[in-house]
């Protein structure tokens, strides 16, 4: 890795006529290559009675193609020590993989084959359905997962983000093979596909390989991107709890809607979030709930990022007997966060942390590729990394307080937990 930041002079960015985009950055000291990206289908395209359809379709892609059965496909990937995975989120399907540099064309050719020509066999359909149903059954017993589902359901209400991408046992059980094939034909296509690659390969070589593989993909039946319906935040506080037997710990989420990711507010809240529940041993809430009260091993705050609506949350795992005590302590900290500015020392600490972390985030090919994807997804300039320090430096304690008050409306908190019955 060279010591300079990736920017418009070193990142190759090119779009193709079929709607695909490539971003490439060289790290010629590395013998390996990492790539990641996203394409159009997401679970918001799931019809109401078929939650899990998009995710199920994606899971089927890696089970074989028209030319390679399951064993042949995975033998090609694993025998060269490579990896290739796809997973579906609400708005898009992401893919990522890694290989030795001499194998990049092989892996991208396989990626093209699995997304263009999946086999959709009856045998694999049944097997994948069973695997998904087992995953759902396991999730249904997982306190962290069930707290998260209860939180999303309460926060997002009738918005599609209220539902887990994987779906529910009832909806997945009802999905038929031909519905997966139809979803694939109508939603998978090159338009909107973004690929970022970093590693021991010249960007021009990556461009040539991309031209021969994903750059040639055509699908005339690809639907236009789904439009996100408007999101209406809750008008009052919501408390929800999922009772699960045999659990020694309860998982807790407290949250509110987050600012739009591409906004000044987001940058401000990001610095504020670090003070609240990230910096050092999980920020202010870590000090209060873990260090002083000893109530939790894990407690932290998170500011969601995405194109659609996201949440600003505090998560904690606590003994069931301490659940209400932890909620009370966290609320106290939120009151403080919204009533007085952060100290100059706190602000300075998280600013220098954010600046110092930049070079560390560029330590690996995966780290850089992930930054390239964010630049494209959020429409940032290729010189975004150069601009970040001055944005961070300009944030004030007053701005953080104003943002905290704007987003942490303590009369409209969503509080969800899962564990022993209350």
């Amino acid at each position: 890795m060279n010591n300079s930041m990736p920017d418009s002079s070193t990142i190759l960015r090119e779009t193709w006529n079929n709607g695909t985009t490539l971003l490439a950055y060289p790290n010629l000291t590395s013998p390996a290559v990492y790539f990641t990206g996203y394409m159009q289908p997401g679970s918001i395209a799931d019809p109401d009675e078929m939650h899990g359809l998009a995710s199920f379709t994606t899971d089927m892609l890696m089970t074989g193609t028209k030319h390679l059965n399951f064993q042949q496909l995975h033998d090609k990937i694993e025998s060269i020590g490579a990896s290739l995975s796809l997973s579906t989120g609400h708005l898009s399907t992401t893919f990522f993989g890694q290989c030795l540099r001499e194998d990049l064309e092989t892996i991208w050719s396989l990626l093209v084959e699995v997304i263009q020509e999946p086999a959709f066999t009856e045998k694999q359909f049944k097997r994948v359905r069973n695997q998904i149903l087992t995953s759902i059954a396991i999730q249904n017993q997982d306190t962290a997962e069930m707290a998260s589902q209860a939180f999303n359901s309460a926060l997002y209400g009738s918005h599609p983000y209220a539902h887990p991408e994987i779906g529910y046992a009832q909806t997945v059980s009802g999905i038929r093979l031909e519905q997966l094939e139809s979803f694939h034909a109508n939603h998978y296509g090159p338009n909107g596909l973004v690929m970022a690659v970093c590693g021991g390969i010249e960007p021009e070589v990556a461009r040539e390989i991309f031209s021969r593989t994903l750059g040639t993909w055509q699908n005339n039946t690809q639907s236009p991107p789904e439009t996100l319906p408007p999101f209406t935040p809750p008008v009052s506080s919501i408390r929800s709890h999922v009772a699960l037997e045999g659990k020694n710990q309860s998982d807790l989420i407290i949250g509110v809607p987050a600012p739009k990711t591409v906004s000044r507010d987001y940058q401000v809240c990001s610095i504020g979030n670090s003070i609240l529940g990230q910096y050092g041993m999980m920020g202010r809430i870590g000090k209060v709930v873990r260090e002083k009260a000893g109530l939790a091993y894990e407690v932290s705050s998170h500011l969601g990022a995405g194109i659609g609506p996201t949440a600003w949350t505090i998560v904690a795992g606590v003994n069931p007997d301490n659940l209400e005590k932890a909620i009370a302590l966290l609320k106290q900290e939120l009151v403080r966060f919204c009533s007085e500015p952060v100290t100059e020392q706190e602000l300075q600490d998280v600013k220098t942390q954010a600046m110092g972390r930049l070079p560390l985030s560029l330590e690996t090919n995966a780290g850089i590729a992930s930054i390239l994807v964010s630049i494209e997804r959020y429409g940032y300039s290729l010189d975004h990394l150069h601009q970040l320090p001055s944005i961070i430096e300009s944030i004030t304690a007053e701005e953080i307080l104003a943002s905290a008050r704007r987003y942490w409306d303590l009369e409209k908190l969503v509080i969800a937990s899962a564990g022993k019955a209350l």
Binding site: M1, N2, N27, T29, S30, P31, A32, Y34, F70, Q71, D75, I77, E78, S79, I80, G81, A82, S83, Q98, L100, R127, N130, Q131, L133, T134, S135, A137, I138, Q141, D142, T143, E245, G246, K247, N248, Q249, G280, M281, E291, A293, G294, Y297, G317, N319, D349, T352, Q353, A354, M355, G356, R357, L358, P359, L360, L362, E363, T364, N365, A366, G419
Partner: protein
């Protein structure tokens, strides 16, 4: 391109016994500092399980010179990240930082090697934090099953114990227990300091001499367990509890990492359950969908997933295989399939192609990790804690020298039906298939 892990490696030992390993990597302005102590649950006595892990927690609570908050700030303020881990054989602390701040991390590590306070109030607060950590793990049936299988995999060797410690021991351990454990094992002669990244070795060595050279090593009272080369005959652990999926876990004895058999065993693991990465920081992995267990269990609907874990330890440990069984599945049927696969690998030699494939996979995993300075720091101390650095530096060469005959002999020696523990967790909310 061969990966030469000995390139730019410098090794020293101070008079007080502290081993120092420095590796120059100038690809980024970053350094990763690791200090490894030769203490883990392997050296704990009955009734005091969890001491090593708890001491690790207390090392973040402060010394006379640094408060707990100072320790946080030292790393976080400059954008670094730090953590610590306790295993059965070792305890380690690391800081990955912009390289300009290396001196500050060395000062911290030298100070908390001997000056941690173990404030009684902090000890009590941390007791509930660690109990909470344990309770979080206990939520998962896989953890409870694994803890039970591990317990049955050794008669008295401390590898049988969960590193977190038992709940009873965690309730009973005192501040004095913790402090004695700390003073006994935290000393230069029981430590390895490893620094990888953007450094000048001679300058760093001078700093290390100045900061650590004055710390005296004293005779250590170490509990050394007797290695257990065999397992109880065909132990079966059965559990039942809430849940909708069943779990099957099988543990076979594996040799110590320094045993020549270990490399043949690595090939066996790769073939049966997929290749394991030696990394700690997720710089790449390879799926196991062409592994024999996946093909036989998952492709044929006996299990929803399967994976394996071969641990590299000072003493003989265990190779474990975990399978998640569908709600309407049958753990017994899955076990029969595993037995069939074991029968195959213990009956006939592998092809050279299968071994070459495992080596290519290992080479790729090394390539993925080598870009990560934190991993490079990790490898130095990790390998040295159970063998020596050449174990990792020559890993690929030693894998390459494994023959089909050695693989067969190793499989026959260790993967025996009378030398394993089988654990089954049956979920009570399901209807098991026949």
């Amino acid at each position: 391109m061969p990966i030469n892990l000995n390139h730019n490696l410098h090794q020293f030992q101070l008079k007080n016994g502290l081993r120092v390993m420095l590796k120059e990597i100038h690809t980024a302005p970053v350094t990763s500092t690791w200090i490894w102590y030769g203490i883990g649950s392997r050296n704990e006595l009955p009734g005091k399980t969890g001491l090593s892990h708890w001491v690790e927690h207390m090392q973040f609570k402060g010394t006379r010179k640094y408060t707990g908050e100072d320790i946080d700030n030292l790393v976080s303020r400059v954008g670094g990240y730090a953590n610590a881990f306790t295993s059965s054989d070792w305890t380690t602390y690391f800081e990955t930082m912009p390289s300009a701040h290396l001196h500050a991390t060395l000062e911290l590590e030298a100070d908390r090697m001997v000056n941690s306070l173990f404030d009684p109030e902090e000890v009590e607060t941390e007791r509930t934090v660690i109990l909470s950590e344990r309770e979080g793990s206990e939520n998962y049936p896989e953890f409870r099953l694994d803890e039970a299988v591990q317990l049955h995999s050794f008669q008295s060797h401390p590898y049988r114990n969960e590193v977190l410690g038992s709940k009873e021991d965690l309730i009973g351990i005192t501040r004095d227990d913790l402090y004695q454990h700390y003073r006994n094992y935290y000393q230069p002669a029981n430590a390895i300091l490893c620094i990888a990244g953007d450094i000048s070795p001679h300058t760093v060595l001078e700093e290390v001499e100045n900061l650590f050279g004055g710390i005296q090593s004293v005779p250590m009272n170490r509990s050394i367990p007797t290695p257990e080369k065999t397992l109880n005959q065909g132990d079966l652990v059965e559990m039942e509890g809430p849940g909708e999926a069943h779990y099957l876990e099988i543990a076979w004895r594996c040799p110590a990492a320094s045993d020549p058999d270990f490399f043949a065993y690595t090939i066996i693991e790769s073939l049966l359950s997929g290749p394991s990465s030696l990394n700690m920081f997720g710089s790449g992995s390879i799926n196991n969908r062409t592994s024999r267990f996946y093909q036989a269990l998952v492709e044929e609907d006996y299990a929803a997933s399967v994976f394996g874990d071969l641990s590299a330890n000072i003493d003989p440990g265990v190779y474990k295989v975990f399978a998640t069984i569908q709600p309407d599945g049958n753990p017994g049927a899955a076990l029969k399939i595993i037995d069939e696969q074991i029968h195959q690998i213990t009956s006939s030699e592998l092809s050279i192609r299968e071994i070459e494939r495992a080596i290519k996979q290992a080479r790729a995993l090394f390539a993925y990790s080598s870009e990560n300075i934190t991993n490079q720091g990790f490898w130095m101390g990790y390998a040295s804690s159970f063998a020596d650095y050449q174990w990792v530096a020559e890993y690929l060469t030693r894998l390459s020298s494994v023959t089909p005959r050695q693989v067969l002999k190793t499989a026959q020696k260790y993967l025996r039906e009378d030398q394993r523990v089988v654990g089954v967790y049956r979920a009570s909310n399901t209807q098991e298939g026949s």
